[in-house]
Symmetry: C2
Subunit: 453 residues, 2 copies
């Protein structure tokens, strides 16, 4: 009996030990291959050369074609488009804020960018005094003085917060609600201090909100140097006036697509593991970190299986979502598809936090599934994944019903230097950091694909 | 009796629990203060504005003055200089490699840099055919053909290796031994492919070796693009000839200094914890990551105690070592001092892996001390330290006898993009990444200073 128990223990140990050892070798192979060949980096160069890819724009259509052709060329088993109706907003070619008084500052331009969704101004612009507030509390106090003015929400992102996404989440309330609050108090327009960790003069855009019951007023962001310049000027000239001109506008919704490519599983083809990022981007910059990185990592994470000659046991599906930035259209469309699909989605992984060096994965799952995934940490450490924690998977996969929704979490210290701005270009991405992300995601796909959930 | 045991357990638990909780709050305060005020980043701007700081150069003397004055201004209890004799090498103002045949490539310059310690060429230069080898094995095979030629060691750093320091360590053998091996076989000079992770045309310098028994021949590094250009050209023109001109030279040794500043411990002033980096740098670039970052982080890690109003229980000593790059002179001098000092060095921390986002600490210590330090991980995680592992502390602290030698280990993926080259400038450093290093080191100093080792 003892011998049998011993034999069982030994056997179990070997059985248990087998997978991680193999998986570690696979992880190392993914890492070496990705770092040496830098395919995702080359694809990112191609994708970003299209330029900004606002949903519904000509560039976004080019990106759809690029992604479809790329996965076809790479020999994915199936590549197809899922139609998505997207709202369309266009920046236009007039975007200007100029000081018109006092006399000695007259003509001084401010570095601004319309927020995504903003209405334009009349052709002659909006001319008004600027009133600065440091937060919503101060805004409420000053509400009686706001009427007829342009409200300057000069609310800095908290640079002392180590978690940049948390600091972003706190500051973004002003970008989202500034125009609504301003309009309620009778303001003519709002200026929002850019939400960024980099001290330069580049304005950072992003989505804003309107309340259908309140008048819509234009909203722009301002670069940090000019935000400080304006704040100082207002101390000296409290009646400082500017003219703001924008011809951005909402267009009728148009048809676009999620781009989907997959490699079928050899053992359980009906079990699907999704990996994705979003193909659209803001129009400033090239959408390199946000989310060109996630797009090319998703493609490469699956393609790496072909490159090193492994067929996954379960189906790996790349979903490149259209319009994360301006309403999550693609996420909703794919989520609806999942709810009526006969196939079983077991997990979804999202990469939408930039192409920086790997740190961890956040997992939304029931405890036993979370523990299973966490037990793979020693393998994932081969790709510089230091931790696996509970947390959200990401906006684009949030509508997918699956046992685990997983977010890839690269280092977050530099992300908001680039986010939603002209800084977010190909050159801002380091090839090794980007490629380690591909390898980390590929390794996680491999583990889920072998072991199920 | 049971009650007593219970009481002891509870009391021990409170006593044990007390420190980590306090320490976590301190860690968070260090992080917030460092990220918000970015003092190390400002100091780095000052230090790097001096330029490259090769030991014994005028710039290195400026850096010594800057560091001494900085710590005096910051109100350290004691700031002083430790004299160090440093060997001196000077790049000179002639550094040129030009193709002279074949005719159609005549006049094409190659992007090169003398390796540190290289002898110069005669004034008219060295003109010879170039012979390429891919490794020492191929060099041995080709040794009979080498006489009278310039050997081109075209050995790429292994881009597939995830640990960039390991890949560097493998490639650096050619930089170190290339000229010795070449000279033995009768070569006139050697060209070494730059050791870098970035594909550009910037040559990366660094120390090389000579054997006093063998003739000294000049050695240069070449940028990656020109390395590939030269390699391709040699396939077509195996008799390709270049002229190499260098007027670099060895000068008599000169006097320089380690710069030392300390805050005395309130409880155990005779117990010293050293933290340091090296003040010298290579002359190309500004020595921003290597090792301006370590210098300003060391100063800030100690100064943060003053800024948040804590007096350490043990003495914290910043040691800014002179001449890490060209012979470890300062490390040797300080190590000798320690061996005869009456004070007790309990630990030393080195930061000399660039100003990138924190990942971990490597610790050289006996097991119980290592375990003690490792038990502090939950506190250090507040500063984005993900791991504490056994490993070396670093070259500059390697001569210090202490219970623990600790290396700060930031992310290593971008370090060799900049290392020893004109790319290593202030702009290559991200302020948040740099500052988190200061906070992580300050937190470790706090823990050692409170708890001893």
């Amino acid at each position: 009996m003892r011998k049998l128990v011993f034999a069982i223990i030994i056997f179990s140990f070997i059985a248990m030990a087998k997978e991680p050892v193999d998986a570690s070798l696979i992880a190392e192979k993914f890492v070496r291959t990705a770092l040496r060949e830098q395919k995702a980096y080359q694809w990112l160069r191609e994708l970003t050369s299209i330029g900004g890819r606002l949903a519904g724009s000509e560039n976004s259509a080019k990106a759809v074609r690029w992604a479809k052709e790329k996965m076809e060329q790479l020999g994915f088993d199936r590549v197809y488009l899922q139609p998505v109706e997207v709202p369309r907003w266009e920046r236009g070619n007039v975007e200007k804020a100029v000081i018109i008084s006092p006399e000695n500052l007259k003509g001084r331009e401010l570095s601004i960018a319309a927020l995504g969704g903003s209405v334009g101004t009349p052709e002659e612009g909006i001319t008004a005094e600027v009133i600065e507030v440091k937060n919503f509390e101060e805004f409420k106090e000053k509400a009686p003085q706001v009427r007829g003015k342009i409200v300057f929400f000069n609310v800095p992102m908290d640079q002392g917060e180590i978690n940049t996404f948390k600091a972003y989440g706190e500051a973004v309330r002003y970008r989202w609600a500034g125009a609504m609050e301003g309009a309620k108090a009778g303001a003519k327009a709002v200026i929002i201090r850019s939400i960024t960790t980099r001290y330069d003069n580049v304005p950072h855009t992003g989505m804003m909100g309107y309340d259908t019951k309140i008048r819509k007023i234009p909203a722009v962001s301002i670069g940090l140097k000019d935000a400080d310049f304006l704040s100082n000027a207002l101390k000296k000239y409290p009646h400082l006036k500017i003219t703001l001109k924008l011809n951005c506008r909402q267009l009728p919704p148009s048809r676009s697509y999620n781009v989907i490519g997959e490699i079928r599983g050899s053992q359980h083809p009906e079990e699907v593991i999704v990996v994705g990022g979003h193909l659209d981007s803001w129009d400033k910059g090239e959408g390199a970190h946000d989310d060109g990185a996630g797009v090319v990592q998703s493609i490469e994470a699956v393609e790496l299986f072909k490159r090193i000659g492994i067929r996954p046991e379960r189906t790996l599906r790349v979903v490149l979502f259209m319009n994360e930035e301006y309403g999550l259209s693609g996420a909703k469309a794919y989520g609806e598809y999942v709810s009526r699909a006969s196939e079983k989605h077991i997990a979804a992984i999202e990469s939408d936090r930039g192409g920086f060096t790997p740190r961890g994965f956040t997992v939304k799952a029931e405890d036993p599934v979370f523990k299973e995934i966490k037990s793979w940490l020693p393998v994932l450490q081969k790709c510089r994944i230091d931790w696996i924690r509970k947390g959200g998977g990401g906006a684009d996969i949030s509508r997918i019903k699956a046992k685990a929704l997983i977010g890839y979490f690269p280092d977050d210290q530099r992300y908001f230097d680039f986010h939603h701005s002209a800084n977010d270009v190909f050159e801002a991405v380091n090839p090794r950091e980007l490629e380690l992300g591909s390898a980390a995601i590929a390794t996680l796909l491999y583990l889920i694909s072998c072991q199920g959930l």
